[in-house]
Symmetry: C2
Subunit: 366 residues, 2 copies
């Protein structure tokens, strides 16, 4: 490294199931792509989710959060597994993830759903419907019904047990996610579709009002509105109509997973969680896949592409991000596949092996 070299602190949160395997591959790719640009990384690995429960009895140890907060970016593998499925709420791996998002203040979840030409056949959609799909869901991540108060259990007038949650949004929460969405759309194809249920919900009416107000600052972005039920249909009828979608936490949870599955290759999809300031959190959208954990079968490419998002959105290192994305495409072009995206005539590789192919391709771009 030269004296002009940059250094970043990266927190690695491998988590559960296949998390450690895919994070290990992605870490190596990040290190190599960085070194080509004179970037050095210092990694610190911390427990989260089930791994943290087993180790220290809570799904997000204080130290994990404080190390993460002090770093420049965070790479998460996956969390959860059968073992902890029946835990009480505060001892669920998922609770650790929600605490991490809230603790980091990462209110904007960027989830691309892209159908790569190499993988168009993986989609359950007809080829002509799937090919060319390239959309981005911008999901609000630290508000709404996931965090709204009051919540809990109680009794109604008749003395019957009730369970309740509050869907609530304040103007500042809507404004800041709208801003991220407009900025995102501006850098893409300039189309933003805001999804809500403003024909029924007050929280959605305020959402629509504020998003509409924000549009005046982005005259170059075309804003449309769609009800969530219609959006769930339109994603299947004609996904290519979408460029950028912005929506609340719970609708975003549902629609971004629906959009991912349209591509047929969720083992390929990364995500970024960003806040106002402070480090971003980057993770593959797939789960911890406990059934194939430790068998070197997992597809690490979603995590590798998450590292590309980490470089682009977390560290503003566009060159290294591009290098990694190109390497993934080249690896696919050479016919290498993991089991989840395998088709006849292609070359089946394990998690480590396909990682090595990506490394070769990164290396060859020097």
């Amino acid at each position: 490294a030269t004296s002009s070299s940059k250094r970043y602190n990266i927190t690695l949160l491998p988590g559960d199931g296949i998390g450690p395997e895919v994070v290990s591959v992605a870490k190596n790719v990040l290190t190599l792509a960085g070194s080509q640009q004179g970037i050095e990384f210092e990694f610190r690995e911390m427990p989260v989710g089930g791994a943290a429960l087993d180790l220290v009895g809570v799904p997000l140890p204080d130290e994990t959060l404080s190390v993460a907060k002090q770093s420049d970016a965070i790479l998460l593998g996956a969390i959860g597994g059968y073992k902890w499925d029946n835990n009480e709420k505060h001892l669920k791996p998922e609770t650790g993830l929600l605490q991490l998002r809230a603790g980091l203040g990462v209110f904007a979840n960027l989830r691309p759903a892209t159908v790569l030409p190499q993988l168009v056949d993986s989609s359950t959609l007809k080829k002509e419907v799937a090919e060319g799909v390239d959309l981005m869901v911008v999901r609000e991540l630290t508000g709404g019904i996931y965090f709204g108060q009051p919540r809990g259990f109680g009794k109604n007038e008749k003395g019957e047990e009730i369970g309740f949650n509050t869907e609530v949004y304040a103007t500042y929460e809507i404004d800041r996610i709208a801003r991220v969405a407009f900025e995102t759309a501006r850098k893409r194809r300039g189309k933003l579709c805001s999804v809500d249920k403003a024909n029924v919900l007050e929280a959605s009416m305020l959402w629509r009002k504020r998003v509409t107000m924000m549009a005046s600052h982005y005259p170059d972005v075309e804003l449309t509105h769609m009800y969530v039920d219609n959006a769930a249909m339109q994603l299947i009828r004609d996904p290519k109509q979408f460029d950028t979608i912005v929506t609340n936490n719970i609708f975003g949870d549902i629609l971004s997973d629906e959009a991912s599955m349209l591509t047929g290759s969720i083992g390929m999809l990364p995500s970024a969680c960003l806040g106002e300031s402070g480090p971003g959190l980057f993770e593959p959208i797939h789960g911890s896949a406990p059934d194939i954990a430790g068998q070197d079968k997992a597809n690490p490419l979603a995590t590798v592409l998450s590292v590309a998002m980490l470089l682009r959105y977390g560290l503003q290192e566009e060159n290294a991000a591009r290098t990694i994305e190109n390497a993934v495409l080249e690896t696919l072009n050479k016919g290498f596949r993991t089991g989840d995206i395998f088709s006849t005539g292609k070359k089946l590789l394990g998690c480590k092996e396909i990682g090595e192919e990506v490394m070769k391709s990164v290396g060859s771009q020097e």
Copy 2:
């Protein structure tokens, strides 16, 4: 009609857009299929939605609700249109629909999504994924975030505007929809999948607990649970894995529309809204399609099939229901299609004409 003939009072709510056209066809089919079984109908047509707004200034006039309540079953066309889109909430056509559901106490919404062999090519899914799909979404319709209190607008501690809604379920609400769902699954293939977000929401935790308890009364039904985000994915990945799905109001809104669109022919899909006692409400799942209203282009078959559901679930007249369903299939088998389900080689008909073909086919089954 013989002295043993039965008489039913049916409330017709044609509503807006294509509503009147499709209801008119379905009414004729109902009359004919009924007469073959010695059933007579008395129809009373009442305004709802935009039509009621234009006529008397409210989306659900008191008289419409009271006539509906006193009848044996209600057939609704569709509501809404651009004209009323910017109305205040209490003057929206949608509000009339919600008031109607609440007023009738129809808490169970049955929404089949079936891919007919004749129309498998209409789906945007690959043929092997779409063919044979035959699922039923049982959606809770009068509770949850649609009706939960408190709701509205206010200020937070910092004085910022907020919009809020309450997702709330009481045990009795969950129990009664669970019962309908288990009964439905029992009459189908004996598989029930309950969809919730119990890893995050207290309202869903209570939902899961009560549905699980209800399962002990239905040992012949296989109960599974799925998170809503995963359900949105699985519907696309492999919709045939589902038989009956039960879920809350808002998740049901989203997932039932997603499931409908999988079939590619939402102009064919009926629905039923049922209460504990009192008349059921039957309607096609499609909207009012204002752009083709009054042009005799609408597909009336979803409304015709809604009339079959009205006979089966509303009046327990299984024979007449079957006659109508067979007539619709025969009409398709003869190659007749409206524009929305047209493909080359088929015969394109208008709304009235395809209605007449269904009538012929009903007649020929006498």
